[in-house]
Protein backbone atom coordinates (compact mmCIF):
# COMPACT_ATOMS: atom_id res chain seq x y z
CA UNK A 1 0.00 0.00 0.00
CA UNK A 2 1.40 3.36 -1.00
CA UNK A 3 0.24 6.38 1.00
CA UNK A 4 2.55 8.89 -0.62
CA UNK A 5 1.22 11.72 -2.69
CA UNK A 6 2.93 14.21 -4.95
CA UNK A 7 2.34 17.93 -4.87
CA UNK A 8 4.43 19.86 -7.35
CA UNK A 9 8.02 18.71 -6.96
CA UNK A 10 7.63 17.30 -3.47
CA UNK A 11 6.22 14.17 -2.01
CA UNK A 12 4.16 13.96 1.17
CA UNK A 13 4.56 10.68 3.09
CA UNK A 14 0.80 10.41 3.57
CA UNK A 15 -2.30 12.48 2.90
CA UNK A 16 -3.11 13.59 6.46
CA UNK A 17 -2.09 17.10 7.50
CA UNK A 18 -3.07 19.61 10.16
CA UNK A 19 -4.98 22.69 9.06
CA UNK A 20 -3.48 26.14 9.20
CA UNK A 21 -4.29 28.15 12.29
CA UNK A 22 -5.39 25.21 14.34
CA UNK A 23 -1.94 23.77 14.95
CA UNK A 24 0.23 26.87 15.49
CA UNK A 25 3.72 26.07 14.27
CA UNK A 26 3.53 22.60 15.75
CA UNK A 27 5.36 23.03 19.05
CA UNK A 28 2.36 22.79 21.33
CA UNK A 29 0.83 19.74 19.69
CA UNK A 30 4.24 18.11 19.53
CA UNK A 31 3.74 17.25 23.19
CA UNK A 32 0.55 15.33 22.42
CA UNK A 33 1.22 13.51 19.18
CA UNK A 34 4.11 12.25 17.14
CA UNK A 35 4.66 14.87 14.47
CA UNK A 36 6.79 12.53 12.39
CA UNK A 37 3.66 10.54 11.55
CA UNK A 38 1.96 13.48 9.87
CA UNK A 39 1.68 13.90 6.12
CA UNK A 40 2.35 17.59 6.63
CA UNK A 41 2.01 20.44 9.07
CA UNK A 42 0.31 23.46 7.54
CA UNK A 43 1.45 26.28 9.79
CA UNK A 44 -0.42 29.24 11.19
CA UNK A 45 -0.61 32.10 8.67
CA UNK A 46 2.55 34.18 8.43
CA UNK A 47 2.53 37.86 7.45
CA UNK A 48 5.55 40.13 7.13
CA UNK A 49 4.84 42.14 10.26
CA UNK A 50 3.60 40.73 13.55
CA UNK A 51 -0.18 40.89 13.94
CA UNK A 52 -1.91 41.11 17.29
CA UNK A 53 -5.10 39.69 15.86
CA UNK A 54 -8.70 40.75 16.35
CA UNK A 55 -10.56 41.94 19.43
CA UNK A 56 -11.76 39.38 21.98
CA UNK A 57 -13.69 37.16 22.30
CA UNK A 58 -12.50 35.50 19.13
CA UNK A 59 -14.39 32.24 19.41
CA UNK A 60 -17.91 31.03 19.92
CA UNK A 61 -19.39 27.59 19.63
CA UNK A 62 -22.26 26.95 17.19
CA UNK A 63 -24.27 23.78 16.50
CA UNK A 64 -21.59 21.23 15.54
CA UNK A 65 -19.17 24.03 14.73
CA UNK A 66 -17.21 27.00 15.92
CA UNK A 67 -17.03 30.54 14.67
CA UNK A 68 -13.66 32.26 14.90
CA UNK A 69 -12.13 35.58 14.21
CA UNK A 70 -8.49 35.24 15.14
CA UNK A 71 -7.49 37.82 12.58
CA UNK A 72 -4.26 36.11 11.52
CA UNK A 73 -2.55 36.79 14.84
CA UNK A 74 1.05 35.75 14.15
CA UNK A 75 4.59 36.67 15.14
CA UNK A 76 5.67 38.20 11.80
CA UNK A 77 8.70 37.14 9.77
CA UNK A 78 11.41 38.30 12.19
CA UNK A 79 10.09 36.41 15.18
CA UNK A 80 9.19 33.48 12.95
CA UNK A 81 12.81 33.20 11.86
CA UNK A 82 14.19 33.53 15.36
CA UNK A 83 11.56 31.68 17.41
CA UNK A 84 9.79 29.18 15.17
CA UNK A 85 12.29 28.08 12.55
CA UNK A 86 14.66 26.40 15.04
CA UNK A 87 11.79 24.16 16.10
CA UNK A 88 10.59 23.56 12.56
CA UNK A 89 14.09 22.44 11.63
CA UNK A 90 13.72 19.54 14.06
CA UNK A 91 10.35 18.44 12.70
CA UNK A 92 10.49 15.23 10.69
CA UNK A 93 7.35 15.65 8.60
CA UNK A 94 6.97 18.11 5.73
CA UNK A 95 6.18 21.66 6.78
CA UNK A 96 3.98 23.84 4.60
CA UNK A 97 4.03 27.53 5.41
CA UNK A 98 0.66 29.28 5.26
CA UNK A 99 1.25 32.69 3.70
CA UNK A 100 -1.12 35.59 4.27
CA UNK A 101 -1.27 39.30 3.86
CA UNK A 102 -3.28 42.37 3.11
CA UNK A 103 -1.48 43.23 -0.11
CA UNK A 104 0.32 41.43 -2.89
CA UNK A 105 3.57 42.79 -1.50
CA UNK A 106 2.91 41.01 1.81
CA UNK A 107 2.64 37.62 0.13
CA UNK A 108 5.77 38.29 -1.90
CA UNK A 109 7.76 39.37 1.10
CA UNK A 110 6.92 36.27 3.09
CA UNK A 111 8.02 34.00 0.26
CA UNK A 112 11.14 35.96 -0.57
CA UNK A 113 12.33 35.95 3.01
CA UNK A 114 11.62 32.29 3.69
CA UNK A 115 12.33 30.60 0.37
CA UNK A 116 15.87 29.74 1.42
CA UNK A 117 14.70 27.87 4.52
CA UNK A 118 15.19 24.17 4.09
CA UNK A 119 12.61 23.35 6.72
CA UNK A 120 9.85 24.76 4.56
CA UNK A 121 8.74 22.27 1.95
CA UNK A 122 5.92 24.17 0.30
CA UNK A 123 3.68 27.21 0.62
CA UNK A 124 -0.03 27.35 1.20
CA UNK A 125 -1.26 30.67 -0.12
CA UNK A 126 -4.15 31.80 2.04
CA UNK A 127 -6.27 34.07 -0.14
CA UNK A 128 -9.40 33.16 1.68
CA UNK A 129 -9.40 34.36 5.24
CA UNK A 130 -12.81 35.85 6.00
CA UNK A 131 -11.32 37.70 8.93
CA UNK A 132 -9.06 39.98 6.91
CA UNK A 133 -10.62 42.22 4.32
CA UNK A 134 -9.37 43.55 1.01
CA UNK A 135 -11.94 46.10 0.02
CA UNK A 136 -14.77 44.28 1.71
CA UNK A 137 -14.33 40.77 0.39
CA UNK A 138 -11.61 38.19 0.67
CA UNK A 139 -8.85 38.31 -1.96
CA UNK A 140 -9.76 34.91 -3.23
CA UNK A 141 -13.14 35.85 -4.66
CA UNK A 142 -11.90 37.43 -7.89
CA UNK A 143 -10.44 35.04 -10.49
CA UNK A 144 -8.32 37.73 -12.17
CA UNK A 145 -6.67 38.75 -8.92
CA UNK A 146 -6.14 35.10 -8.03
CA UNK A 147 -4.44 34.26 -11.31
CA UNK A 148 -2.30 37.38 -11.11
CA UNK A 149 -1.19 36.83 -7.56
CA UNK A 150 -0.46 33.16 -8.13
CA UNK A 151 1.53 34.00 -11.25
CA UNK A 152 3.64 36.52 -9.42
CA UNK A 153 4.36 34.23 -6.50
CA UNK A 154 5.12 31.42 -8.93
CA UNK A 155 8.13 33.38 -10.17
CA UNK A 156 9.57 33.69 -6.67
CA UNK A 157 9.98 30.06 -5.74
CA UNK A 158 10.29 26.55 -7.08
CA UNK A 159 8.64 25.20 -3.98
CA UNK A 160 5.07 23.98 -4.50
CA UNK A 161 2.34 26.58 -4.21
CA UNK A 162 -0.93 25.33 -2.74
CA UNK A 163 -3.59 27.98 -3.17
CA UNK A 164 -6.22 27.88 -0.44
CA UNK A 165 -9.73 28.81 -1.49
CA UNK A 166 -12.75 30.17 0.27
CA UNK A 167 -16.15 28.50 -0.15
CA UNK A 168 -17.79 31.94 -0.03
CA UNK A 169 -17.97 32.38 -3.77
CA UNK A 170 -20.58 31.82 -6.43
CA UNK A 171 -18.49 29.31 -8.34
CA UNK A 172 -15.39 27.89 -6.70
CA UNK A 173 -14.36 26.08 -9.89
CA UNK A 174 -13.68 29.41 -11.60
CA UNK A 175 -11.32 30.49 -8.83
CA UNK A 176 -9.63 27.09 -8.80
CA UNK A 177 -9.01 27.28 -12.54
CA UNK A 178 -7.61 30.78 -12.16
CA UNK A 179 -5.12 29.56 -9.56
CA UNK A 180 -4.18 26.64 -11.80
CA UNK A 181 -3.68 28.98 -14.73
CA UNK A 182 -1.47 31.15 -12.54
CA UNK A 183 0.79 28.19 -11.87
CA UNK A 184 -0.48 26.70 -8.63
CA UNK A 185 0.66 23.15 -7.91
CA UNK A 186 -2.37 22.33 -5.82
CA UNK A 187 -5.61 23.75 -4.47
CA UNK A 188 -6.67 23.42 -0.88
CA UNK A 189 -10.26 23.97 0.13
CA UNK A 190 -12.10 25.01 2.14
CA UNK A 191 -11.31 27.89 4.41
CA UNK A 192 -14.08 28.87 6.83
CA UNK A 193 -17.64 29.76 5.85
CA UNK A 194 -18.96 33.25 6.58
CA UNK A 195 -21.11 33.19 9.69
CA UNK A 196 -22.32 35.26 12.60
CA UNK A 197 -23.68 34.65 16.09
CA UNK A 198 -25.54 37.33 18.00
CA UNK A 199 -25.69 37.50 21.77
CA UNK A 200 -29.36 38.25 22.36
CA UNK A 201 -28.73 39.31 25.96
CA UNK A 202 -26.10 41.89 25.09
CA UNK A 203 -27.74 42.61 21.71
CA UNK A 204 -24.52 42.54 19.78
CA UNK A 205 -22.35 40.14 17.85
CA UNK A 206 -20.62 37.70 20.20
CA UNK A 207 -17.44 38.28 18.23
CA UNK A 208 -16.73 42.01 18.07
CA UNK A 209 -15.51 41.75 14.47
CA UNK A 210 -19.04 40.70 13.41
CA UNK A 211 -19.10 38.24 10.54
CA UNK A 212 -16.46 35.57 11.14
CA UNK A 213 -15.45 32.13 9.95
CA UNK A 214 -17.41 28.94 10.59
CA UNK A 215 -15.55 25.62 10.82
CA UNK A 216 -16.09 22.14 12.18
CA UNK A 217 -18.43 19.25 11.34
CA UNK A 218 -21.30 21.64 10.58
CA UNK A 219 -19.52 22.65 7.36
CA UNK A 220 -18.26 19.23 6.32
CA UNK A 221 -20.87 18.80 3.58
CA UNK A 222 -19.85 22.21 2.24
CA UNK A 223 -16.20 21.19 2.16
CA UNK A 224 -16.90 17.85 0.49
CA UNK A 225 -19.02 19.59 -2.16
CA UNK A 226 -16.19 22.08 -2.77
CA UNK A 227 -13.51 19.38 -2.98
CA UNK A 228 -15.74 17.50 -5.42
CA UNK A 229 -16.34 20.57 -7.57
CA UNK A 230 -12.71 21.68 -7.61
CA UNK A 231 -11.39 18.17 -8.33
CA UNK A 232 -13.47 18.12 -11.48
CA UNK A 233 -12.35 21.60 -12.53
CA UNK A 234 -8.57 21.29 -12.29
CA UNK A 235 -5.86 18.74 -13.06
CA UNK A 236 -3.62 19.57 -10.11
CA UNK A 237 -4.09 17.72 -6.82
CA UNK A 238 -6.68 18.96 -4.36
CA UNK A 239 -6.28 19.11 -0.60
CA UNK A 240 -9.66 18.79 1.08
CA UNK A 241 -10.64 20.05 4.50
CA UNK A 242 -13.55 21.24 6.54
CA UNK A 243 -15.13 19.41 9.44
CA UNK A 244 -13.12 16.21 9.37
CA UNK A 245 -13.76 14.40 12.66
CA UNK A 246 -13.08 10.79 11.70
CA UNK A 247 -11.41 8.59 9.12
CA UNK A 248 -14.76 8.15 7.43
CA UNK A 249 -15.04 11.90 6.96
CA UNK A 250 -11.56 12.04 5.47
CA UNK A 251 -12.41 9.18 3.13
CA UNK A 252 -15.43 11.17 1.90
CA UNK A 253 -12.98 13.87 0.79
CA UNK A 254 -10.68 11.38 -0.90
CA UNK A 255 -13.58 9.75 -2.74
CA UNK A 256 -14.78 13.22 -3.73
CA UNK A 257 -11.47 13.70 -5.50
CA UNK A 258 -9.04 15.10 -2.93
CA UNK A 259 -5.49 13.74 -2.85
CA UNK A 260 -4.79 14.89 0.68
CA UNK A 261 -6.77 16.19 3.63
CA UNK A 262 -6.27 18.41 6.64
CA UNK A 263 -7.69 18.14 10.12
CA UNK A 264 -8.49 21.49 11.71
CA UNK A 265 -11.20 22.06 14.29
CA UNK A 266 -11.21 18.31 14.95
CA UNK A 267 -7.81 18.72 16.62
CA UNK A 268 -9.41 20.80 19.34
CA UNK A 269 -11.71 17.94 20.16
CA UNK A 270 -9.13 15.19 19.85
CA UNK A 271 -5.46 16.01 19.32
CA UNK A 272 -4.79 12.45 18.21
CA UNK A 273 -7.30 12.72 15.41
CA UNK A 274 -4.74 12.96 12.56
CA UNK A 275 -3.21 9.66 13.62
CA UNK A 276 -6.61 8.01 13.96
CA UNK A 277 -7.61 9.32 10.55
CA UNK A 278 -4.43 8.00 9.00
CA UNK A 279 -4.94 4.57 10.54
CA UNK A 280 -8.54 4.54 9.37
CA UNK A 281 -7.55 5.42 5.82
CA UNK A 282 -5.04 2.58 5.79
CA UNK A 283 -7.62 0.13 7.07
CA UNK A 284 -10.15 1.26 4.47
CA UNK A 285 -7.57 0.87 1.72
CA UNK A 286 -6.82 -2.63 2.90
CA UNK A 287 -10.49 -3.62 3.13
CA UNK A 288 -11.27 -2.13 -0.24
CA UNK A 289 -8.05 -3.22 -1.91
CA UNK A 290 -6.93 0.25 -2.83
CA UNK A 291 -3.24 0.43 -3.48
CA UNK A 292 -2.62 4.13 -3.70
CA UNK A 293 -4.43 7.34 -2.91
CA UNK A 294 -5.36 7.97 -6.53
CA UNK A 295 -7.35 4.73 -6.46
CA UNK A 296 -9.90 6.62 -4.35
CA UNK A 297 -10.63 8.73 -7.42
CA UNK A 298 -11.95 5.95 -9.59
CA UNK A 299 -15.43 5.63 -8.11
CA UNK A 300 -17.24 8.94 -8.37
CA UNK A 301 -17.15 11.00 -11.51
Amino acid sequence: MDLKINIGNIQLPNPVGTASGTFGFGEEYGELLDLSQLGAIYTKALTPMPRDGNAVPRLVETPSGILNSIGLANPGIEKFLSDKVPFLETVKCPVILNVSGSTEADYKEVIERTDNLECIDAYEINISCPNVKHGGLAFGTDPIQVENLTGKLRKLTVKPLIVKLTPNVTDISVIAKAAEAGGADSISCINTVRGMVIDTKRKQSVIPAGISGLSGPAIRPVGVAAAYTVSRAVKIPVVGLGGIMSADDAIQYLLAGASAIQVGTGLFVDPLLPIKVLNGIQQYMKENQLEKISDFHTFIN
Partner: protein, 261 residues
Protein backbone atom coordinates in the same frame (compact mmCIF):
# COMPACT_ATOMS: atom_id res chain seq x y z
CA UNK B 1 0.40 18.16 29.53
CA UNK B 2 -1.09 14.85 28.47
CA UNK B 3 -4.29 13.53 26.97
CA UNK B 4 -5.53 10.54 28.95
CA UNK B 5 -8.55 8.42 29.66
CA UNK B 6 -9.50 8.78 33.29
CA UNK B 7 -12.06 6.91 35.34
CA UNK B 8 -14.72 8.65 37.38
CA UNK B 9 -14.36 7.90 41.07
CA UNK B 10 -17.27 9.95 42.34
CA UNK B 11 -19.70 12.63 41.34
CA UNK B 12 -21.32 14.40 44.23
CA UNK B 13 -23.69 17.32 44.44
CA UNK B 14 -22.23 19.91 46.82
CA UNK B 15 -24.54 22.89 46.38
CA UNK B 16 -27.36 23.97 44.10
CA UNK B 17 -26.18 23.00 40.60
CA UNK B 18 -22.61 22.55 41.86
CA UNK B 19 -20.85 19.21 41.66
CA UNK B 20 -17.59 17.74 42.85
CA UNK B 21 -16.16 15.32 40.33
CA UNK B 22 -13.21 13.17 41.34
CA UNK B 23 -11.36 10.94 38.94
CA UNK B 24 -8.12 9.07 38.44
CA UNK B 25 -5.05 11.02 37.43
CA UNK B 26 -2.80 9.32 34.89
CA UNK B 27 0.01 11.77 33.99
CA UNK B 28 3.24 11.73 35.95
CA UNK B 29 3.17 15.46 36.48
CA UNK B 30 1.47 16.89 39.56
CA UNK B 31 -1.03 19.63 38.81
CA UNK B 32 -0.77 22.86 40.76
CA UNK B 33 -3.51 25.15 42.06
CA UNK B 34 -4.82 27.32 39.24
CA UNK B 35 -3.98 24.85 36.50
CA UNK B 36 -6.84 23.42 34.52
CA UNK B 37 -7.78 20.54 32.29
CA UNK B 38 -10.20 20.08 29.44
CA UNK B 39 -12.85 17.40 29.23
CA UNK B 40 -14.53 16.03 26.14
CA UNK B 41 -18.15 15.82 27.19
CA UNK B 42 -19.57 13.81 24.30
CA UNK B 43 -18.62 11.80 21.26
CA UNK B 44 -21.32 13.55 19.28
CA UNK B 45 -20.57 16.73 17.41
CA UNK B 46 -22.55 18.95 19.73
CA UNK B 47 -21.45 20.31 22.19
CA UNK B 48 -18.30 20.23 20.14
CA UNK B 49 -15.40 21.72 22.06
CA UNK B 50 -13.69 20.30 25.11
CA UNK B 51 -14.71 22.11 28.30
CA UNK B 52 -12.07 23.66 30.60
CA UNK B 53 -12.16 23.25 34.41
CA UNK B 54 -9.67 24.15 37.08
CA UNK B 55 -8.48 21.46 39.46
CA UNK B 56 -9.94 21.71 42.94
CA UNK B 57 -7.76 19.12 44.62
CA UNK B 58 -5.11 16.56 43.95
CA UNK B 59 -4.01 13.65 46.05
CA UNK B 60 -0.62 12.44 45.04
CA UNK B 61 -0.82 9.19 46.98
CA UNK B 62 -4.03 7.90 45.45
CA UNK B 63 -3.44 9.78 42.18
CA UNK B 64 -6.86 11.26 42.47
CA UNK B 65 -7.81 14.69 41.18
CA UNK B 66 -11.04 16.60 41.34
CA UNK B 67 -12.85 19.58 39.94
CA UNK B 68 -15.82 21.53 41.18
CA UNK B 69 -18.16 22.51 38.40
CA UNK B 70 -21.43 24.27 37.94
CA UNK B 71 -24.11 22.89 35.66
CA UNK B 72 -24.59 25.64 33.11
CA UNK B 73 -25.17 24.45 29.57
CA UNK B 74 -25.18 21.24 27.61
CA UNK B 75 -21.60 20.21 28.32
CA UNK B 76 -21.87 20.44 32.08
CA UNK B 77 -25.35 18.92 31.95
CA UNK B 78 -23.85 15.80 30.41
CA UNK B 79 -21.12 15.85 33.06
CA UNK B 80 -23.68 16.10 35.83
CA UNK B 81 -24.91 12.65 34.80
CA UNK B 82 -21.57 10.90 35.13
CA UNK B 83 -21.37 7.92 37.40
CA UNK B 84 -18.57 6.01 39.06
CA UNK B 85 -16.61 3.99 36.55
CA UNK B 86 -17.43 6.15 33.54
CA UNK B 87 -14.50 6.96 31.30
CA UNK B 88 -13.45 10.57 30.76
CA UNK B 89 -11.24 11.94 28.00
CA UNK B 90 -9.11 14.52 29.80
CA UNK B 91 -6.25 16.79 28.71
CA UNK B 92 -4.06 18.37 31.36
CA UNK B 93 -2.60 19.83 33.41
CA UNK B 94 -2.81 23.01 31.35
CA UNK B 95 -1.74 26.59 31.87
CA UNK B 96 0.25 28.25 34.64
CA UNK B 97 -0.75 28.24 38.28
CA UNK B 98 -1.15 30.46 41.32
CA UNK B 99 1.68 28.45 42.76
CA UNK B 100 4.04 29.92 40.17
CA UNK B 101 3.45 33.32 41.73
CA UNK B 102 3.01 32.15 45.29
CA UNK B 103 6.57 30.89 45.21
CA UNK B 104 7.70 34.43 44.56
CA UNK B 105 5.48 36.10 47.13
CA UNK B 106 5.75 33.49 49.88
CA UNK B 107 8.87 34.88 51.36
CA UNK B 108 7.26 38.23 51.99
CA UNK B 109 5.58 38.55 55.33
CA UNK B 110 2.28 39.54 53.75
CA UNK B 111 -0.96 37.86 54.63
CA UNK B 112 -2.06 35.56 51.85
CA UNK B 113 -5.68 36.31 51.05
CA UNK B 114 -7.52 33.92 48.75
CA UNK B 115 -10.76 35.20 47.28
CA UNK B 116 -13.17 32.84 45.55
CA UNK B 117 -16.57 33.08 43.99
CA UNK B 118 -18.92 30.87 41.97
CA UNK B 119 -17.18 28.54 39.56
CA UNK B 120 -13.87 29.96 40.79
CA UNK B 121 -14.21 28.21 44.14
CA UNK B 122 -12.59 24.95 43.09
CA UNK B 123 -9.07 26.19 42.30
CA UNK B 124 -9.03 28.44 45.39
CA UNK B 125 -9.84 25.59 47.73
CA UNK B 126 -6.90 23.81 46.17
CA UNK B 127 -4.65 26.87 46.56
CA UNK B 128 -5.62 27.26 50.22
CA UNK B 129 -4.88 23.62 50.82
CA UNK B 130 -1.55 23.90 49.05
CA UNK B 131 -0.57 26.85 51.22
CA UNK B 132 -1.65 25.17 54.41
CA UNK B 133 0.39 22.11 53.56
CA UNK B 134 3.29 24.42 52.83
CA UNK B 135 3.01 25.95 56.29
CA UNK B 136 1.31 29.18 55.33
CA UNK B 137 -1.94 30.19 56.94
CA UNK B 138 -4.03 31.88 54.30
CA UNK B 139 -7.33 33.61 54.75
CA UNK B 140 -10.00 32.22 52.44
CA UNK B 141 -12.88 34.53 51.55
CA UNK B 142 -15.71 32.95 49.61
CA UNK B 143 -18.48 34.95 48.04
CA UNK B 144 -21.86 33.51 47.06
CA UNK B 145 -25.18 34.96 46.02
CA UNK B 146 -27.06 33.00 48.61
CA UNK B 147 -26.73 30.19 51.14
CA UNK B 148 -27.89 27.37 48.85
CA UNK B 149 -24.88 27.98 46.64
CA UNK B 150 -22.30 27.45 49.38
CA UNK B 151 -20.45 24.10 49.07
CA UNK B 152 -20.14 23.65 52.85
CA UNK B 153 -18.80 20.13 52.68
CA UNK B 154 -15.83 21.24 50.63
CA UNK B 155 -14.30 23.56 53.21
CA UNK B 156 -11.42 22.57 55.43
CA UNK B 157 -11.97 23.56 59.06
CA UNK B 158 -8.26 24.10 59.50
CA UNK B 159 -8.28 26.98 57.09
CA UNK B 160 -9.50 30.37 58.24
CA UNK B 161 -12.57 30.89 56.08
CA UNK B 162 -15.00 33.78 55.74
CA UNK B 163 -18.20 33.28 53.80
CA UNK B 164 -20.01 36.26 52.33
CA UNK B 165 -23.49 36.12 50.84
CA UNK B 166 -25.00 38.90 48.79
CA UNK B 167 -28.34 38.45 50.50
CA UNK B 168 -26.96 37.86 53.98
CA UNK B 169 -28.48 34.40 54.19
CA UNK B 170 -25.21 33.14 55.65
CA UNK B 171 -22.04 34.68 57.03
CA UNK B 172 -21.05 38.22 56.15
CA UNK B 173 -23.75 40.15 54.30
CA UNK B 174 -22.25 41.73 51.23
CA UNK B 175 -19.72 40.83 48.63
CA UNK B 176 -16.11 39.90 49.21
CA UNK B 177 -14.89 43.43 48.50
CA UNK B 178 -17.31 44.82 51.06
CA UNK B 179 -15.87 42.33 53.50
CA UNK B 180 -12.29 43.28 52.73
CA UNK B 181 -13.12 46.96 53.08
CA UNK B 182 -14.80 46.26 56.42
CA UNK B 183 -11.79 44.42 57.76
CA UNK B 184 -9.11 46.85 58.92
CA UNK B 185 -6.44 44.20 59.20
CA UNK B 186 -6.56 43.62 55.47
CA UNK B 187 -5.80 47.08 54.19
CA UNK B 188 -2.05 46.65 54.20
CA UNK B 189 0.47 43.89 53.66
CA UNK B 190 -1.66 41.38 51.87
CA UNK B 191 -1.24 39.43 48.65
CA UNK B 192 -4.52 38.65 47.00
CA UNK B 193 -5.34 35.62 44.84
CA UNK B 194 -8.70 35.69 43.16
CA UNK B 195 -10.79 33.43 40.94
CA UNK B 196 -14.42 34.18 40.33
CA UNK B 197 -16.80 36.22 38.21
CA UNK B 198 -15.40 39.22 36.36
CA UNK B 199 -16.72 41.87 38.79
CA UNK B 200 -15.02 40.06 41.67
CA UNK B 201 -11.72 39.98 39.79
CA UNK B 202 -12.03 43.67 38.99
CA UNK B 203 -12.95 44.46 42.56
CA UNK B 204 -9.93 42.61 43.92
CA UNK B 205 -7.70 44.32 41.41
CA UNK B 206 -9.04 47.75 42.40
CA UNK B 207 -8.72 46.89 46.08
CA UNK B 208 -5.11 45.86 45.55
CA UNK B 209 -4.36 49.04 43.60
CA UNK B 210 -5.83 51.26 46.31
CA UNK B 211 -4.11 49.43 49.11
CA UNK B 212 -0.86 49.14 47.22
CA UNK B 213 -0.81 45.39 47.26
CA UNK B 214 -0.29 42.70 44.66
CA UNK B 215 -3.17 40.73 43.25
CA UNK B 216 -3.20 37.63 41.05
CA UNK B 217 -6.32 36.68 39.11
CA UNK B 218 -7.37 33.66 37.14
CA UNK B 219 -9.15 34.61 33.91
CA UNK B 220 -11.73 32.81 31.83
CA UNK B 221 -12.08 32.91 28.08
CA UNK B 222 -13.65 30.72 25.40
CA UNK B 223 -11.06 28.11 24.49
CA UNK B 224 -10.60 25.90 21.47
CA UNK B 225 -7.20 24.13 21.60
CA UNK B 226 -6.48 24.83 25.27
CA UNK B 227 -2.73 24.51 24.69
CA UNK B 228 -1.67 27.78 23.10
CA UNK B 229 -1.83 26.87 19.43
CA UNK B 230 -4.94 28.58 18.07
CA UNK B 231 -4.79 32.12 19.49
CA UNK B 232 -8.49 31.87 20.24
CA UNK B 233 -8.53 32.52 23.99
CA UNK B 234 -6.60 35.74 24.27
CA UNK B 235 -7.19 38.51 26.79
CA UNK B 236 -6.06 42.10 26.48
CA UNK B 237 -2.96 42.95 28.44
CA UNK B 238 -1.11 46.10 29.41
CA UNK B 239 2.37 46.34 28.05
CA UNK B 240 4.24 45.55 24.88
CA UNK B 241 2.14 42.67 23.62
CA UNK B 242 -1.50 43.58 23.15
CA UNK B 243 -2.84 40.12 23.95
CA UNK B 244 -1.91 37.09 26.01
CA UNK B 245 -3.27 33.57 25.67
CA UNK B 246 -5.36 32.66 28.70
CA UNK B 247 -4.75 28.94 28.18
CA UNK B 248 -0.98 29.08 27.92
CA UNK B 249 0.29 32.44 29.26
CA UNK B 250 -2.42 32.22 31.95
CA UNK B 251 -4.97 31.50 33.23
CA UNK B 252 -3.30 33.25 36.18
CA UNK B 253 -2.10 36.82 35.62
CA UNK B 254 -0.83 39.58 37.83
CA UNK B 255 -3.90 41.81 37.92
CA UNK B 256 -1.92 44.91 36.98
CA UNK B 257 -0.92 43.25 33.72
CA UNK B 258 -4.50 42.71 32.64
CA UNK B 259 -6.29 45.41 30.70
CA UNK B 260 -9.57 45.86 32.56
CA UNK B 261 -12.50 47.17 30.57
Amino acid sequence: MKQFISTVIELKSIAEDYFLLSFTWIPDSTPAAGQFLTIRTTELSSPLLRRPFALSSFDNKSKTASIIFQKRGEGTKIMSQLIKGDKLDIMGPLGNSFSDFKAKSDNTKKKQVIVAGGIGTGPMLYLAEEMREGGIEPLLIVGCRTKSLIPFSSFNKNIETVICTDDGSFGFKGNVIDYMNSNDKLTSDVTIYCCGPEPMLKGCHAYAETTNNTCYVSLEQMMACGIGACMGCTCETEGEKKYARVCKDGPVFKSSEVKWT
